[in-house]
């Protein structure tokens, strides 16, 4: 008897509604899960720093949150699509996948930093400028070409300004002094190195 009535329970018009409501709860749970995963990321101030040229060429990348190589490529592609096409007078901020990307154009180079929704965008914009000013002081009227050939130096400088996604030093002088100390310590080694590498370069020409 039961066996025969139950199939018709299924036919009752409201049953469909309920089963699917249950599905709704499932997806809610799923969302919650994703949220937790994202939450892990949100401890950081700055998630990553990108330098992209106007042609979309990557000049420097620094990832403070974990991103796989595949994700990185995707991020760069997506962001350069968004940022390079933006007009000159618009905001320097872009909302992107629940985060915000602050960017600023210097000559032909875009400096981008990704932050969370609640951070102070204007501050990040000034951190970018702070970085550029330090680069400028170090290279002496820095231009894109300096960064192309000396990207590792740009990394060293960035490491002195930002650490684990936070601004660690806001004094230009202090940063400059540290970098200079590192450079002077290796100066002697470098002189030998450059003569050596010149020789190698000549040999391999």
């Amino acid at each position: 008897m039961v066996n025969e009535t139950h199939p018709f329970l299924f036919l009752h018009s409201s049953t469909n509604l309920k089963t699917t409501v249950k599905l709704g709860f499932c997806s809610d749970f799923f969302l919650f899960f994703i949220f937790c995963k994202l939450k892990g990321l949100e401890e950081l101030g700055i998630h990553f720093v990108l330098l992209i040229s106007r042609q979309g060429k990557v000049r420097l990348t620094k990832w403070y949150s974990p991103y796989s190589q595949k994700e990185r490529t995707k991020v760069i592609r997506e962001l350069s699509g968004v940022i390079l096409t933006r007009g000159p007078k618009l905001c320097n901020f872009v909302e992107w996948r629940g985060h915000k990307v602050v960017y600023k154009r210097y000559a032909s180079l875009y400096f981008c930093m990704c932050i969370d929704q609640d951070d102070n965008e204007l501050e990040i914009l000034e951190i970018i400028h702070h970085f550029v000013e330090i680069l400028d002081r170090y290279f002496g009227s820095v231009c894109e070409l300096d960064l192309i050939f000396n990207f590792h130096k740009a990394y060293y400088i960035l490491d002195e300004i930002l650490i684990a996604g936070e601004l660690q030093e806001s004094s230009k002088k202090t940063v400059a002094r540290l970098i200079a100390a590192q450079d002077s310590l290796v100066e002697t080694a470098k002189e030998q190195a450059s003569s050596l590498s010149n020789m190698i370069a000549h040999a391999t020409k």
Binding site: M1, N16, T73, A164, S197
Partner: protein, 971 residues
């Protein structure tokens, strides 16, 4: 340039960079990089590579990886390099590993030992390098290995080391808060460090700690306030000034912390009032950084216990932001407004026009921020305008992430503030139509439930009206192509339940439509299932009403097709439909009562309605049911399979059919008696579907009693799925609100639905130029939020106009939208810049034909504010005069120039490719750029000349591709 500026790399590397710089496509670039990888793979594994060479290889690996390729083959060499004694090499090694390895990489374990050693080094630079690596590489497991040393370094004599040690501990805290909980006193101590850099760094971990647990840090409020005071009074060394602001980054951090500490704490907040007031007064609002500090101040003021005076200052700054031409400031203004509104809801009102300007701004970022604000200030009085705007915007964008977000916001607002059910359904239709597959499934169920339940009032008439209007709108929408699956499900369900309810549409018309839906989505099983169930309902209602059901041929073929479907669910539904068709009217009415979707089915777990049947069977000699827990020793009471029945009793409801029992067995054993556990020997009996139809037909009388039994139970049962979960109080109250405020009577609106909808659609177009329209919009947005609406003349006038007749707006609106369409192209034209590729190819040709004129670059210079002054300064040099003139007239002649360039490009493209390799052209390009670059550069022309000549010596002439390479980043 000096000693640092030289490019101390080998020719090979420079060539690599150069060739990548000149690559014309991503494919070409990839090819070059892959070659490089192959070469590096070979070389790097050769024995006895000189260290300098190895260092270069590592840097090349970094470069390759930066370009998005995999350099994992070389990671181990980078790890090895960290072991080297020379700082130069070690630094390179650390740099490479921090860039290569994520915190969970296997190789990290090989570095920990080196890091431990380096943390003990006498050379503070080595320690610094190690600490930088610690921040990136040390994961939860390896924290204990370095923690003691890092803590020790907090007392290092060099401030740089102390600072990095703090940051490392901060990182440890983020990775695993428990690892550093015993060290919190150290953070407090470092707050008093002599070096402002260390103190500033300490604020990072403190911020995290305080946001996790505010109460244990209340004692620090006075310290933070006094630090902030000192900072604001320029007590810190001059080197921390940034653009004439005293240590702004530290100020911002302190403000963030104070916001946390003062939130909901009057006493703590009162300590802060003076210093916050000082900052508001002193802050330089002409620089970006000053505004950043001001913005942070507003955030702080809106978070702490409110002080009227500070709120006034905050409001003043906010209005300055909103009035600014700078989009960044407008953006911050909108955000500040959102924050201040939490404290004082009236504040938005005086900025209504600015908000609407932002809403209509072409800048997407600003628009989205404004929607966020509107979302927060939605009330039942302005919900229609806001949601309509949101939907319009939602339709216009492609970004799925944001589309989902804004769709769910629309749904949330609509559910919360819907002025009428009709409006709710219309809104939902729009959301579903355009973002159906992105919204949460729950939304669909809410919509179905709302249609089924109606207002929940006694007024059955309104509900029916609502339903028939929903049916009508769905039938109309069905003709549109490409509806999202979720929406189709809703449509099918509603058509099944109410398609024929008001008698307007015939059953065959509705079933025909449903068949079309199923046919149009052959791959979507869920939609098909909804469709076939809906058909079944329609048929059942027809049968119950005593009408004869003639299945349409396409419907019959659909059933045949589904009976043979691979999906058992679809199969079952098809068979059930056939079964229902064979039943008589009385039985069908009991199993498929019309409009009973809201009624709850009570599951009688004890199956008491079977008692008489069981009794009968027992009398006939059947064995009694023994509950499972008492059953251990007894086997084989029944041949029935039981597993499923256990399950069903556990779940309460079973949604799939039981297989049919063999009639003979049914007679012998009590049906509800599931027996024996899994040791049963008898194979599971297979149901045969043809049989089921027979059975079903025969069963009509039996089910009849069962179903009525069930139905009896429905009364007085608390609705589990009913109203309470759905927002209850809103509909009735807000609808009355609507009546009073908008003055449109409810009935009229319902009948004129489509008409008034069109009107409000039109009025949504951007009308930046026409202020009355904007004012109207403002009134509709903000009027409701105002506590004293009569104060604003425009808002009342708007109301009267609405009172009269919604259609009267129409002509006005039409002209407005015409005006905007006319103006729009003019407005956008000057902003447009030609696509970068075109530009970059075009430039050298221009340079060749018209020597020393590079209008584009000058134009670019114009766009970037820092360049303007320098290019005008260099006006004394004769060579730059033409470009300057061009620049001056650039604005007006831009379109002309761009078109001429694009004309030039196709013809010169080939020749350019040929020429680019020849040295003369390269030199020409180089010198040209050098000239312009040096001229542009007020302060340091020597540098760029030197750089350029160096570049040319090295044979690097990226200027062909991108002359901007030589431009100062800071103009």
């Amino acid at each position: 340039m000096g000693s640092q500026g030289g490019w101390g790399q080998s020719k090979e590397f420079l060539d690599l960079v150069k060739s990548i710089g000149e690559a014309r496509s991503k494919a070409e670039e990839d090819r070059i990089v892959l070659n490089e990888i192959e070469m590096l793979k070979r070389r790097i594994n050769e024995p006895d590579i000189p260290k300098k060479k190895m260092k270069e290889y590592i840097i090349r690996l970094v470069y390759v990886e930066m370009l998005g390729h995999d350099a994992s083959f070389g990671y181990i060499h980078a790890v090895k390099m960290t072991h080297d004694d020379s700082l130069l090499l070690k630094r390179t090694g650390y740099l490479a590993v921090t860039l290569f390895l994520n915190e969970d990489h296997d190789l990290i374990i090989l570095i920990v030992n080196t890091i431990q050693k380096d943390l003990k080094s006498d050379n503070y630079l080595v320690v610094c390098a190690a600490l930088t690596a610690v921040c990136k590489l040390i994961n939860e497991e390896t924290i204990p290995a370095v923690l003691p040393q890092v803590v020790e370094l907090l007392g290092h004599q060099k401030e740089a080391v102390r600072k990095k040690a703090i940051m490392a501990l901060h990182r440890f805290y983020q990775r695993s808060p428990s690892s550093v909980t015993h060290l919190i006193s150290n953070f407090r101590k470092r707050l008093c460090d002599n070096d402002p850099g260390v103190m500033g760094a300490t604020l990072c971990p403190l911020f995290d700690l305080i946001s996790a647990d505010v109460d244990s840090y209340k004692d620090l409020v006075t310290s933070f306030v006094s630090i902030l005071k000192q900072v604001a009074e320029r007590r810190l060394p001059k080197s921390y000034d940034y653009h004439q602001m005293p240590a702004p980054f530290i100020q911002i951090r302190l403000l963030k912390i104070l916001a946390l500490l003062g939130s909901g704490d009057k006493q703590a907040s009162e300590h802060m009032y003076t210093v916050l007031g000082d900052i508001f007064r002193k802050c330089d609002s002409s620089s970006n950084i000053g505004n950043a500090v001001l913005y942070e101040c507003i955030c702080c003021v809106s978070s702490i216990h409110p002080s009227p005076k500070l709120l006034d200052s905050a409001a003043e700054v906010t209005s300055r932001f909103l009035k600014s031409d700078n989009h960044n400031l407008k953006y911050l203004g909108i955000d500040a407004l959102r924050r201040l509104m939490k404290v004082n809801p009236d504040i938005a009102e005086e900025h209504q026009l600015a908000v609407i300007d932002c809403l209509e701004d072409p800048d997407d970022t600003l628009k989205r921020k404004t929607f966020e604000l509107l979302f927060k200030m939605t009330k039942s009085t302005n919900v229609e305008v806001i949601v309509d705007r949101m939907i319009d915007y939602m339709i216009s964008i492609n970004d799925n992430h944001y589309k989902t977000e804004i769709a769910s916001r629309c749904v949330e607002l609509a559910e919360q503030f819907a002025p009428s059910n009709h409006w709710f359904i219309q809104t939902m239709n729009k959301v579903f139509e355009h973002a159906g597959d992105l919204v949460n499934v729950k939304v669909a169920h809410n919509l179905m439930r709302l249609i089924a339940e109606g207002f929940g009032d006694d007024d059955e008439g309104t509900d029916n009206q609502l339903r028939s209007s929903a049916v009508e709108s769905y039938l109309r929408i069905l003709s549109e192509p490409k509806l999202p699956s979720m929406f189709l499900q809703v449509i099918c369900w509603v058509l099944g339940e109410y398609g024929t309810a008001d008698g307007k549409f015939s059953a065959s018309y509705i079933t025909g439509k449903l068949c079309d839906v199923a046919e149009a989505h052959p791959s979507d099983d869920i939609v098909k299932a909804y469709a076939v169930t809906a058909i079944m309902k329609i048929c059942a209602f027809e049968i119950a009403a005593g009408r004869k059901v003639e299945l349409l041929p396409e419907c019959q073929s659909l059933i045949d097709e589904l009976s043979a479907s691979h999906s058992t669910d679809l199969q079952q539904r098809a068979y059930e439909l056939q079964a229902v068709l064979g039943l008589d009217g009385h039985a069908v009415e009991s199993i498929m009562p019309a409009d009973a979707s809201c009624e709850d089915i009570e599951v009688d777990k004890s199956l008491s309605f079977l008692n008489s049947y069981v009794q009968q069977s027992l009398e006939k000699g059947a064995q009694p049911y023994i509950p499972e827990n008492e059953r251990s020793g007894i086997l084989n009471i029944s041949n029935f399979r039981n597993q499923d029945q256990h399950e069903s009793s556990a779940h309460g409801l079973r949604f799939e059919a039981y297989e049919l029992p063999k009639p003979s067995i049914t007679l012998r054993t009590p049906a509800p008696a599931p027996a024996v556990s899994s040791t049963e020997l008898v194979p599971i009996s297979e149901p045969t579907y043809p049989k089921e139809t027979n059975q079903a037909a025969k069963l009509s009388t039996v089910t009849d009693t069962g179903a009525t039994e069930l139905k009896l139970r429905l009364e007085g049962v608390q609705k589990k799925w009913g109203k309470p979960t759905y927002s209850t109080p809103v509909p009735s109250t807000s609808s009355s609100n609507l009546k009073t405020t908008n003055g449109v009577n409810q009935l009229g609106q319902a009948t004129l639905s489509s008409h008034s909808r069109d009107v409000s659609y039109d009025s949504k177009r951007p009308q930046a130029e026409i202020s009355p329209e904007k004012q109207k919009l403002a009134a509709s947005l903000f009027g409701g939020s105002s506590s004293k609406p009569d104060k604003k003349p425009q808002s009342t006038s708007h109301k009267t106009s609405r009172l009269g007749n919604p259609a009267s707006e129409k002509p006005q609106v039409a002209t407005a939208s015409a005006a905007t369409t006319e103006l729009a192209p003019q407005k956008t034209a000057p902003v447009q810049t030609p696509p970068p590729d075109l530009l970059d190819l075009g430039e050298p040709t221009v340079g060749d034909t018209i020597p020393s004129i590079d209008p584009f670059k000058q134009l670019e210079g114009l766009l970037g504010p820092p360049d303007v002054s320098s290019s005008t300064n260099s006006g004394t040099v004769s060579v730059t005069q033409p470009p300057d003139l061009m620049a001056l007239y650039g604005d007006s002649s831009l379109s002309g120039v761009s078109s001429s360039i694009s004309n030039l490009v196709p013809t010169n493209l080939d020749s350019m490719n040929l020429v680019s390799s020849s040295s003369s052209a390269a030199d020409h390009g180089g010198s040209k750029v050098a000239l312009s670059a040096s001229l542009k550069k007020g302060p340091n022309p020597q540098d760029s000349l030197e750089k350029d000549s160096l570049a040319r010596q090295l044979g690097v002439t990226p200027s062909i591709q991108n002359p901007n390479l030589f431009r100062d980043l800071l103009g």
